[in-house]
């Protein structure tokens, strides 16, 4: 186990995490391409993961890293599933515009 993180260094990591999250969130809200939107959600995922590790290092335990491994595993599975869904949608109608897929609106 290396030295625990100082509060100053933690702030940098959290800032990075927040920036990544906001970029992802704004991308999710503004872009219409389904794949880009999906990538943006991945970005938000990673932002959360960075925050996890940073906190883990700050507290000097491994729980943050354990969480990271779970997040990566699930993200991999979810990416496979989400991309498969996108491919299925594209086969039904050759468009990736999220606005065009709104059959279930009330």
């Amino acid at each position: 186990m290396t030295e625990p993180l100082s509060i100053l260094a933690l702030n940098h990591y959290l800032l990075l995490s927040a920036v990544l999250f906001v970029i992802g969130f704004i991308g999710f809200l503004t872009r219409r391409n389904l794949i880009i939107m999906f990538l943006c959600t991945e970005l938000m995922f990673q932002a959360a993961a960075i925050a996890m590790i940073a906190f883990g290092a700050y507290h000097g335990n491994v729980q943050g890293q354990v969480f990271l491994i779970f997040i990566l595993t699930i993200a991999a599975a979810e990416a496979a599933l989400a991309l498969a869904l996108v491919v299925m949608l594209y086969r039904r109608r050759p468009t990736l515009d999220a606005e065009k897929w709104s059959e279930l609106k009330g």
């Binding site: 969130f25 999710f28 809200l29 503004t30 219409r32 939107m37 999220a98 606005e99 897929w101 709104s102 059959e103 279930l104 609106k105 009330g106």
Partner: protein, 678 residues
């Protein structure tokens, strides 16, 4: 005042308790009378459920075996009971508080007679039907119902209490319903079945109320206990409570429904939609006589009210003449005999009403033979001529090869129904009519004259059928059930061995059954049987018996012979020798003939007076209660979630980004709230 007129009920004091020493000990398993047909019903029922099972063709034999075994047991029972009585508990059924209604049998000579009629005619009809129904898709189903009917009918007859009797009563009603609607693809059959069931409900309501009132007044529904108390009440000379006097009227209503009397007779003619063996067994020989049996069985109760038996007599008398007039104007031979059944049942009630319980039950006994023969003869004609029943389209069948046995048995049965001297119907009808002139009661003499008139009408319409269908020039048209190709000449197929044998047996019964009521003592063997049952009376003191014209029975035999022969003579002239004259006569009284042909528009009257008002009430209840209140409440229950949905629905606008923003906004709100609260 009948009860004061000297008619004394001979109640065997020993009837009061079944465990009494005078009771006959039975060494025959009496329960087999019920259980053998029940077993047959179950077997046939299983075969009926297994569609396509080739063994279904044995169901006729199973049914014959089941009912035949019941008949043999009944013969043994009748021999064993003799003029005594017996009581047999099969199992305890209903017991709470003071109410005791066991599955128990009460046997006296009256029971024996009914058992012999029900199982005897039942066996013959089952044999007949095993040929008649061959090739029908519902062959096994038919025999399951017939066996079940015998189960219910024997239960009704054997019951030692009113509740078990009611069980059998409803059972026969159910089987009647099932068998009238046997051809359930025919709308007319379904309508007739429903009509029979609903009209019987009216009567059965009366019966049920009568049972309740009997229990409330006597504290028991067992015949032995009730009769003991009735006897005590009569001998005490105390004032009889009105509630007790109401009992016979309620029971009477049930009897009028089941036995098709005015005003509830309308279901029986329509019941002819069922297969003909059913018409013979249920709607002529046995089930419809259940009402007569009910009154004969509970006769002590009817003696408690001075108006009960006169009511029965008048209703029976009016029904007899009314149904006879309708029967004269019908063209469907099965319907003619249906109205004849209604009319003859009227005679039986007349007999009960004028205190001739022997005459009534004797007529029941002989009627079972000749009416079953008539219906089965009709069935043979219907079977052979592809469902043709119109007497204008059938003529001279007696000379068609292969139809001699049918013609012979029909002739004999028609003679018996017409009261031709020395046939069975002659003796039994005379017994009732003579008693009407002897017994003192309100208008009983008039009842006798009306009965005599009806005897003439009966002879006329009976021989109208016989002369039209079986004599005269040979010509016939096939009915609608003929499936041959066009241009194919129709050949009637003559009945086979089973049908012929049954017709011979019933024909013989139609002649010789009458001799059971002739001979020494009170009306021979039959009279002795009834006199030793609970339906017995001592003859009124001072009744005229002696000398030719002062003896009402001999006088009546002469009078009714003349009337009967007159009716036959008129029928012979109009329908055999000079059929054109019949047509002229009909045209000269056309309005009457048409009205009688339309059954005096009774059905239409009931429609106007009963059905339409009820439908109107139903309509009001439906539109007010159902549509407005109940449906309104349900609609309100549905409207609330719908409104909420309408308010919330716009949120689901189908924009992925919008949902993302919503999620973020929601999260931010939660965070801010938590922030502020902390």
């Amino acid at each position: 005042m009948i009860s004061a007129a000297g008619a004394q009920l001979v109640l065997l004091s020993s009837l009061a308790s079944a465990s009494d020493a005078a009771a006959v000990r039975l060494n025959v398993p009496v329960e087999w009378i019920v259980f053998a047909p029940l077993l047959a019903a179950l077997l046939c029922g299983i075969l009926a459920l297994r569609t396509g099972d080739a063994r279904a063709r044995y169901s006729g034999a199973i049914c014959v075996a089941g009912i035949g075994l019941a008949f043999l047991t009944s013969v043994a029972i009748a021999a064993s009971v003799g003029y005594g009585f017996a009581h047999e508990t099969v199992f305890e059924w209903i017991r709470f508080d003071r109410l005791r209604a066991d599955f128990a049998f009460f046997l006296d000579p009256l029971t024996s007679i009914m058992l012999l009629v029900v199982t005897g005619i039942g066996t013959l009809v089952a044999v007949y039907a095993s040929e008649y129904m061959r090739g029908d898709r519902g062959y096994a189903r038919f025999f399951a119902f017939v066996s079940l009917f015998i189960v219910a009918m024997t239960t009704l007859v054997l019951a030692d209490n009113l509740i078990l009797m009611y069980l059998g009563w409803e059972g026969v009603g159910l089987c009647s319903y099932l068998l009238i609607g046997f051809y359930y693809e025919k709308p007319a059959a379904v309508a007739a079945a429903k009509k029979a069931f609903i009209v019987n409900r009216i009567g059965d309501l009366g019966f049920a109320l009568g049972i309740c009132l009997t229990y409330l007044q006597f504290g028991s529904v067992e015949f032995a206990v009730i009769f003991e108390q009735v006897e005590a009440l009569r001998t005490s000379g105390a004032e009889i409570p009105t509630a007790i006097e109401a009992i016979p009227f309620l029971l009477m209503l049930g009897a009028f429904g089941k036995s098709a009397q005015l005003p509830l007779y309308v279901w029986l003619p329509d019941a002819m939609e069922g297969p003909t063996p059913v018409s013979a067994l249920i709607h002529a020989a046995t089930m419809v006589t259940a009402g007569v049996y009910l009154i004969a069985r509970t006769l002590p109760l009817f003696l408690l009210s001075e108006y009960a038996l006169p009511t029965v007599a008048w209703v029976g008398c009016l029904t007899a003449v009314f149904a006879a007039t309708i029967g004269m104007a019908q063209y469907d031979i099965k319907r003619i005999f249906a109205y004849s059944t209604v009319s003859q049942l009227g005679y039986m009630f007349m007999g009960l009403g004028v205190l001739s319980s022997v005459g009534a039950t004797f007529h029941l006994f002989t009627h079972a033979f000749f009416k079953a023969a008539l219906f089965l003869g009709c069935g043979a004609v219907m079977h052979g001529f592809a469902g043709q029943l119109d007497l204008r389209r059938l003529s001279g069948l007696g000379r068609v090869p292969g139809w001699q046995i049918v013609t012979g048995s029909m002739l004999v049965a028609c003679l018996a129904l017409a009261g031709f001297p020395l046939t069975s119907g002659f003796f039994s009808k005379d017994m009732i009519l003579a008693e009407a002139f002897v017994t003192a009661g309100p208008g009983y003499r008039a009842i006798g004259w009306i009965g005599l008139l009806t005897a003439g009408l009966t002879a006329y319409y009976t021989f109208r059928v016989f002369f039209r269908v079986f004599l005269g020039p040979v010509h016939f048209t096939a009915g609608e059930e003929h499936h041959g190709g066009h241009g194919h000449h129709f050949h009637p197929h003559a009945p086979g061995a089973a049908i012929n044998v049954v017709l011979i047996v019933l024909g013989a019964g139609a002649i010789f059954a009458g001799w059971a009521g002739v001979g020494g003592g009170h009306h021979g063997w039959f009279g002795s049987m009834v006199h030793h049952s609970t339906a017995a009376y001592e003859a009124p003191a001072g009744a005229a018996h002696g000398g030719f014209f002062s003896n009402p029975h001999q006088w009546m035999m002469l009078a009714s012979s003349v009337v009967g022969l007159l009716g036959i003579g008129v029928a012979a002239y109009l329908h055999l020798y000079n059929r054109a004259a019949a047509e002229r006569l009909r045209r000269s009284i056309l309005p009457v003939a048409v009205l009688a042909g339309h059954k005096w528009c009774v059905d239409e009257g009931y429609d106007l007076l009963v059905r339409r008002p009820l439908r109107f009430i139903g309509h009001v209840c439906y539109s007010l209660g159902d549509t407005l209140i109940i449906n309104g409440l349900v609609a309100l229950g549905g409207a609330v979630p719908r409104l909420i949905g309408a308010a919330v629905r716009p949120m689901q606008n189908g924009r992925l980004q919008g949902y993302g923003l919503g999620m973020a906004g929601g999260l931010a709100t939660v965070i801010i709230i938590v922030w502020v609260m902390l």
